[in-house]
Symmetry: C2
Subunit: 337 residues, 2 copies
């Protein structure tokens, strides 16, 4: 590998002079500057950022920890993050936690060892508290994406889960539904709690009693929907609509229903959080509270870098509002009998 010493030797000067040319600091005559620059180009010199990071005590590396890159929401988010990071001169490491607290913990440690400049993380849940504290202890800036963690006072880019849940529930009620089930993610995550809150509050405002039998809790990325669906369908008064906490749950629910011989939306309306990238879907079907995944990525990186560069002292919570998109998976309740 070519180093500044190689350049210096060829240019008949000291390494320091080369360094000054590279960083555009100090006083260098125009002629030596050009000579050195030419030699660097000619020798294909590329600075060793390990060495640089070591002395400067900072890297241009950011870390992105998400649940699963193949989840469409995170895919788009990651793309936004990478675009913005690149634009601002940073590189992006990424990893998948699969909603596992253990994987998350392991990753935080490798991230610490890489001395990344900052971390953008979708925390698994409230129990992420411990490793987030570790980041704090090491003074590594981080920004929470999509989910809050009680006890952690950090920058965050969030959706408005309560508002989105309200909109979706409101939509179902407007279609005549009264028995509205909810299949939620783990209540260990803040989004699940807010979505529940929005759902309950909207029911209440329409004088619809909250029925615990209509509440199901499963992981955001799990697919044991069959079981939950059976329970719901076997109720004395089964639901006529389902509010799924995200699109994966909704898709699993629809598959399960079809499997059991039910039609959506004829027999059951389904709505959910998060859209699917319409570019890759031929016939968009889900009625969703769409969240701006790409913006989650870009805004998250911006927020992170602001903090890294110390341009801001106070904590910032940014809320990106959801947008209701009505499609074929929800329909007017058909009153039988």
């Amino acid at each position: 590998m070519v180093t500044i010493y190689d350049i210096a030797k060829k240019a008949n000067c000291s390494a320091m002079t080369v360094s000054k040319v590279i960083n555009n600091t100090g006083k260098i005559s125009e002629s030596t500057r050009q000579r050195i620059q030419q030699i660097m180009t000619q020798m294909n010199y590329v600075p060793n950022s390990n060495a640089r990071s070591l002395v400067l005590q900072q890297t241009k590396l950011l870390s992105l920890l998400i649940a699963d890159i193949t989840n469409p929401f995170y895919t788009t988010l990651a793309r936004g993050a990478e675009d913005e990071a690149k634009r601002l001169g940073y590189q992006l490491l990424f990893s998948n936690s699969d909603e596992s607290i253990v994987k998350e913990q392991e990753y935080i440690e490798t991230v610490l060892s890489a001395r990344v400049a900052g971390v953008m993380i979708t925390p698994v849940g409230d129990s992420s508290l411990n490793h987030l504290k570790l980041l704090e202890q090491y003074r590594i800036p981080f920004v929470l994406i999509d989910r809050e963690v009680p006890g952690v006072d950090a920058d965050a880019v969030l959706g408005d889960s309560k508002e989105g849940a309200s909109q979706l529930t409101e939509h179902l009620i407007a279609l005549g539904h009264r028995r509205i089930a909810m299949i939620n993610g783990h209540l260990e995550t803040s989004t699940a709690r807010y979505r529940l809150e929005g759902y309950q509050q909207t029911l209440r405002s329409h004088d619809i009693p909250y029925d615990e039998q209509l509440m199901m809790e499963m992981g955001f990325n799990q697919t044991n929907a069959d079981e939950h669906m059976s329970k719901l369908l076997s109720l004395k008064e089964p639901p006529t609509a389902i509010f799924a906490a995200n699109n994966l749950i909704a898709l699993a629910a629809i598959r399960s229903l079809r499997h059991k011989g039910y039609l959506v939306p004829e027999d059951m309306s389904i709505v959910c959080f998060d859209d699917l990238e319409t570019n890759y879907v031929l016939d968009p079907f889900l009625t969703v509270a769409s969240q701006p995944a790409y913006d989650f990525g870009t805004v998250g990186i911006q927020t992170l870098i602001e903090r890294i560069q110390g341009n801001r002292k106070q904590i910032k919570h940014i809320v990106l509002p959801p947008k209701l998109i009505v499609r074929g998976s929800s329909a007017v309740r058909i009153i039988t009998q």
Copy 2:
């Protein structure tokens, strides 16, 4: 940040002793080993991998350069790559080239400066030759994914584009189609060339003349399908089927056709390369030559790390075969008139 010197001071020993405990080298008494280990845990010591990389002249960083993470094929590939990298103790940087040779070039340079251990790259096309040579010059191992580059003799994990194209064309012919158009990616990429070859050869083997008017070339990620579709439809003898070089092109084609009032597959059969993640598709519709995207990722990383660790001298080309999946987008040719 806690360093080995901090540990050493607290443990009343030299930094070297701490280093030996960390790396499990040298001779250390069981008692000091435990004492040091305890102090490290207590102080939350995490090694500085910049310093380590600097002296060892190697990092545990790999780089993944793909066209676009939101393209479903690459999403899954990236997931496979990350899983495998993590399993083998490496971290993954990623970036999107958007099929742009300029972005690719820039990225290669930042990658060089990060002193990554290796690079996994889906080259934009034949003109990637220059920066790949730069990698070679710096002796940074790399593996080509999905596409070959003439003049570059490197490890590669490839699909069998010719075979897949043959299968798809064969399928259309079996359905009675004779006027089969092809919408290809840029011929600057090896996959586009092989797919063309498979298509042409299969036509020939059925004594169907190759008609240049039925050949369209567009970028793998571009969507000016409308224009191409208009040309095809206005031919004296328009096609009854289209072979799209990948799924994005196929989707764009279908949208364009629908927009013009044509039905798929009634008026036009469509087949293509690369499946969509069936987990996120409610009603899989495309007849595809499916490629094992996840395996592209894992095998690519394996191949790369083998080379990094110097366990293998000779160049290796791994070919992962495609699989024909017949669905609703292709149908028997309806003979009108």
